[in-house]
């Protein structure tokens, strides 16, 4: 007696499941320039590290004798694998089967992905391509009338929300992603999409019928739309790039909120003082500069290039957000980009800042802030988009931070919005180019001295005279004298100063890390 027959049956079922949607369907998928979910998982994970869960799950078909004749696999592939030797949960829809719209076992496995991540407290990666429910029923046996979930069932959307507070979640849109998978896609800390992907609440036909718009999938939810809408953080040139970006994103983070990010070896001298920092900021206040260059000169350089990994560049572009390393430590980096509205805080930039700061707090990333803030964005569009509320919300998030926070005051720090760049008990270094006050000189003088300027013989000359006089009052030297900043520094000293501060700050963290919580905000 032995179990050989049953063991053979297990083997047969596994082989059936590996066929996915069948050779023709897989071939059609490849012709569209896309990988199958199993190929995607292999491309994401360390070689041969995938340990699949529920590989025999699916919809069975039986012959007249009641023997299994075929097995349509669950169209969500799920398992545990390794990314740079760290264990992660990974899953994704199988588009080659019913376009990724869930079959019964597929739905169960997709819902289980979050529960696994919560149970084992390791990062979660979802690779999405597929539609949501169908009017004929979702995840149900079509021969039966839909009876719904039991009343006592826990909503599948709860673990989706819970994961964000405790484990890093990264997602990718690698084809059309609609309905439920689109909702799962955005329930993440980092999302990436390929050029030929589209993210939609509902597709072109539904939109045409309900609203009359005749739009393609790409026009509705392609990268041009969603990098700006903030639904997607980064664009990937192809699927391989999408996987590389996810691997890189995870490299800065701990496995969960009960751990701190791990330090790596740093081969970039901590006392590196780049000369460029002394002349990137122009003396002429009308001329823009590249804040990204400043960031690159300060953070670690590695053998593979800069350690700065920017996220969400196109959304709220007046604010730069990204991850980097300083002396081998993971840090969150923010900075103003004056090429977009002088770096002013728009409604989108405020949302971007709030979300980024909450993310840094969730995974205990210290923040480096490079400040060139002229204030909240002004004008009718800004008022109509509720910037003042979103901006005040962002300031609240910054001041409720519990991570070490250092600010490099590069150029402007004006108005209420300036508060969004200085964290609680933060370390503040001022560059000689720094200027601060209630309003930037140019606009402020015209308003505050309107009558005096109008009454002058030469109004333009009087305005220039007042502007020069008041510019002196915005100088960083008096603030350094008054010890209102930790120090005014030679910009070239920025890296060693920040690295020394970071070592001290991290060494002072004696409490064990816990998930981040906060109260109601504006």
């Amino acid at each position: 007696m032995s179990w050989h027959d049953e063991i053979a049956e297990i083997k047969r079922r596994r082989a059936l499941a590996k066929q996915q949607g069948g050779a023709d369907s897989v071939e059609r998928h490849h012709q569209k320039g896309r990988l199958t979910i199993r190929e995607r998982i292999d491309s994401l994970l360390d070689k041969d590290s995938f340990d699949e869960i529920g590989q025999s799950s699916g919809v069975p078909e039986f012959n007249d004798k009641g023997q299994l004749s075929d097995l349509q696999p669950a169209n969500f592939v799920l398992g545990i694998g390794a990314v740079n030797t760290r264990k992660v949960i990974v899953g994704g829809e199988d588009f080659t089967l019913k376009g990724g719209s869930p079959n019964p076992a597929g739905l169960r496995k997709s819902v289980y992905a979050e529960q696994l991540a919560l149970q084992y407290k390791i990062p979660l990666i979802r690779l999405h391509e597929g539609g949501g429910g169908s009017v004929g029923g979702t995840g149900q046996d079509k021969s039966h009338r839909p009876i719904g979930e039991p009343v006592f069932a826990v909503s599948r959307f709860l673990p989706l929300a819970q994961t964000l507070g405790v484990v890093p979640v990264a997602t990718a849109a690698l084809g059309p992603v609609a309905g439920l998978p689109a909702s799962r896609l955005v329930a993440s800390h980092f999302s990436v999409m390929t050029e030929n992907a589209a993210v939609l609440i509902a597709g072109p036909q539904v939109v045409k019928r309900a609203l009359g718009y005749d739009l393609t999938k790409e026009e509705l939810g392609g990268p041009q739309v969603h990098l700006k809408s903030g639904v997607i953080d980064n664009l990937a040139v192809d699927e391989h790039d999408a996987m590389q970006q996810i691997r890189r994103f995870l490299s800065y983070l701990p496995d969960n909120a009960w751990q701190r990010p791990k330090k790596i070896d740093c081969h970039d001298p901590v006392d590196r003082c780049d000369d460029a920092l002394a002349h990137i900021v122009p003396k002429n206040r009308r001329q823009p500069f590249q804040m990204r260059e400043i960031i690159e000169h300060v953070v670690d350089q590695t053998s593979e290039g800069s350690s700065f990994f920017e996220m969400r560049r196109k959304f709220g572009p007046s604010l730069i957000t990204g991850l980097a390393r300083l002396n081998g430590h993971s840090v969150g980096v923010i900075g103003n980009d004056c090429l977009f509205y002088a770096g002013a805080m728009t409604a989108a930039a405020a949302q971007k800042l709030r979300r980024f700061v909450d993310f840094c707090n969730s995974f205990h990333l210290p923040v480096l802030s490079f400040v060139d803030e002229p204030g909240f964005m002004i004008g009718p569009d800004s008022e109509a988009s509720g910037t003042i509320r979103l901006g005040t919300e962002a300031i609240s998030a910054v001041l409720q931070s519990r991570v070490p926070w250092a600010s490099v005051h590069v150029l402007k720090a004006f108005g209420v919005a300036a508060q969004a760049h200085f964290g609680p008990q933060g370390y503040v270094l001022s560059w000689p180019s720094a200027a601060s006050g209630a309003l930037p000189i140019e606009g402020g003088v015209a308003v505050a001295f309107a009558r005096e300027i109008a009454a002058a013989k030469d109004p333009a000359a009087r305005q220039a005279e007042l502007e020069n006089m008041l510019a002196a009052s915005q100088s960083p030297f008096p603030r350094a004298e008054g010890f209102s900043v930790h120090d005014i520094i030679d910009p070239r000293e920025t890296r060693p100063k920040l690295a020394a501060w970071l070592d001290l700050s991290l060494a002072a963290q004696t409490d064990p890390p816990v998930p981040f919580t906060f109260t109601m905000r504006p």
């Binding site: 206040r285 009308r286 823009p288 004056c338 090429l339 977009f340 509205y341 002088a342 002013a344 002229p374």
Partner: protein, 77 residues
Amino acid sequence: MLFKVKSEVAGVVWKIIASVGDDLDTGAAIIILESMKMEIPVPTPRAGTLKILHVAETDMILEGQEIATFLSLDEPT
């Protein structure tokens, strides 16, 4: 192939830098906008020959407005 360059910010055209017929490299400025009291260049994202300039100095430009039409250099005409 023709391609259009749009402005990513709103502002007023302060200076026209490039002329119709010019070959511009990727990242070269076409015009400079005055936006929030700063001089903001509008660059071409790809190399090309400037065919049509859709704006003139002192024009008010909206976010996403078309600035110029180019013929790309990297493809045969």
